[in-house]
Point group: D2
Chain length 247, copies 4
């Protein structure tokens, strides 16, 4: 039952992503047909810079639905069940998560909150408890199996597994949903674990599709000010009130 590190891998994404977004924007405003423009787009006849500039300008005007045509799929391991519970609350997305009903957790990995890790006394208490979890899970599975409940032993024994238990999940989101995810989860108000995950996802998105994700992140990164209520502001950006009263 060791501690487990976070890994975030970009499994795949929609190919020719910038071209697809450019073509979809264009389809709204011009008389021709996307499919006729498409070969020239993917062969590079229309310069990336031109596409990037066009897309940025339209996005700025608030017309962001065409970025939905592009999706990213991530494989994530090394997050807690507490964290995955927060992730799956984002409903415009698709998830495939490791099931504790089917997978035995005899060697459960877990996540330690950094604040607990930093305090030796807390860390020791936490790790001792994780051993108790391992014993309880093992004991209960054995009792259930001995009582003839083998097929449901994982399902019932998992009730002792902690929020810290490590899980793995495949996540697919389109760019618009990702932007919203980053808006909420890269903010300092988000919990440390989902924020670290969101930051790693954002980094991969920026590398793969800078035209869209260049200004991705918490809402302040796009607005230039902090839209949170004053008592929640982290100080990285001024609040709107501070901004307008500054001069």
């Amino acid at each position: 039952m060791p501690e487990k590190d976070l890994r975030v891998e970009l499994l795949t994404m929609t190919p020719n992503a910038l071209e697809l977004i450019y073509a979809s924007f264009r389809q709204c405003y011009y008389a021709g047909f996307t499919a006729d423009m498409w070969p020239r787009l993917i062969s590079g006849d229309i310069e990336k810079e031109k596409q990037d500039a066009f897309v940025s300008k339209i996005l700025e005007s608030g017309h962001d639905s065409p970025i939905e045509h592009v999706s990213f799929t991530f494989a994530v391991e090394g997050i807690s069940r507490a964290c995955s519970h927060q992730i799956v609350r984002h409903r415009i997305a698709s998830y495939s998560q490791q099931s504790q009903r089917y997978v035995a957790e005899n060697d459960m990995d877990y996540i330690i909150p950094p604040a607990i890790k930093k305090i030796p006394e807390a860390r020791e208490r936490f790790e001792k408890f994780m051993e108790e979890v391992g014993s309880a899970y093992k004991d209960l599975r054995e009792i259930l199996v001995a009582a003839g409940r083998e097929s449901k032993a994982n399902e019932d024994a998992r009730f002792v597994l902690p929020q810290a238990a490590e899980t793995k999940i495949v996540i697919t989101m389109n760019c618009r949903s990702l932007m919203h995810f980053f808006n909420l989860r890269c903010c300092q108000r988000a919990q440390w674990e989902v924020r670290i995950l969101a930051d790693k996802m954002l980094k991969l998105c920026k590398e793969s599709l800078p035209a869209i994700f260049r200004n991705g992140g918490a809402r302040c990164e796009q607005l230039g000010y902090c839209p949170e209520a004053e008592r929640f502001a982290c100080g990285k950006y001024p609040t709107l009130k501070e901004l307008t009263e500054r001069k």
Copy 2:
């Protein structure tokens, strides 16, 4: 840290539900305006039986989108975090769940799986472990508070809380999403806990809106046969293969 019983309450639902579904169906097929028909509908001038018959006939033809206009809101307590994780995977719904980040769990309630409850040895082991959880949570909170991390003490200490930890949640779903929820979660293949919850929700729906939920439940209740792969069939209904080969 006692065991907690399941409670499911129907907080509210769309008023004049049958009338609204009837009127919405009618709006698709006739020349008049729903709003002109509405006063006669809610005053009872058009008989419930007639509306019920009309709605049933259209539903049978597969046109089920108008039932989306009616929503139900439930308040649920006495379910485990394992169960709430399954519920919130239903994305066409709205949830407000008790947060372990904000609410201290010094007197955490919990859910015992029935199979564990029935075996005295298992039950004893389970309950002993729940006491260990309580100690670990309390110890970690104290250490974190002593180290000056009071504001985040709940958030970090909750990593030791088990899947068995009791949670409360407000759930709103429209009738179409509820039908789908019941299709999956009233089936014998669903986990015992979410199945008991779904059965209780279904019972409340049947009482409040029989025209729609009369045949609600696992898919077999509507189909008259079991659509699962043979190896998963529970035997309540014949499979399609059995049904067609029977005679």
Copy 3:
């Protein structure tokens, strides 16, 4: 084939709406159970003003998901097919629209754009054309019926019906989706017809649930500045740039 006026009626909404939103917010942050608080809420023991103040403060902090528990259902007549095509692009909503496949349009009503109505020459041309539509629809139906295609005559003849053709639709949206709808459709950049509709819906929402919709409308009404690109700003509010440079 006369011109048709817009009518927007609030058919129904979730009862005890403020109480439901208040209770759902509370469920996230406190240890008790919503259903136990509910009777005191709907009997008026907890003052509306207190609930309103609590809800407003939480909304301000950006936590808006609990307002999803409340839905509004509107019946709308007197909008064009052009307008209904814009409405149904809002995907977090339920619609039941009058079908041109099933309802014969021998006496089709229509919508005249105000700019056309104001110019006598344009109005005359428009109205003359609407008569041509009526003739073409009638002629085609007759030819199809004579050729034994009665059952599909509406379905095929309707290909001549104009975007101006009047339609009726039942719309259900939850408050969060409505807020977004108003953000986009009450803005001066929206088309005149959907803007008039959105304004009427907003008026009904404000009357029925002021705690939520008090600041509803285009995004500027909530932000205090215009978030559009400068070239699209209508002037009602300063842009962010103007706001910060003003002093």
Copy 4:
């Protein structure tokens, strides 16, 4: 103003689609991490046939959420506005449609229903009317421009454009949403135009991802019987009643 033929092009789709679905299914049931399996999957180390068989077996058991990770993007031209209005009612999808507000329709193309095309008298009447549309649109634009309404001339003149007016649209749907789209729109009960479109999309899906779309189409293709009410059955498959009473 000529007639326009339907074109459906698959612009792009999620790469390594079968591998992604296989890996996502596996993630639910096994202890390892998708990202570690991924290089072996896309290099072909795990045979396509094995993946196909695994995926088919799980799908048969009703667990279809992992197919959501794969999306298809189509470019469509040569459909009527009547048809696009039906398409966009599918809400789990993303659309970018040619706007009649921005694109002038001086040379509007259109769609003729086959039943009208086959009857010379009907066709002649239809085509004559399309010329009247062209005149009315042109006249109104000119009057509006002369009156200083150039910027809104398209937007207002388009009220005379017919449901037959040709439109172009970019459509992205994931496999689960596509399966549902085909269930409804490949059925004989669907309108002829959207059925032809759905059949063409299905053909492209079958070629690109047979493991998923092999049995795609109307619901009868998966069920082996017609689930419609008897009065709507087209006769291609027996109804369930006929099937069970047959022997």
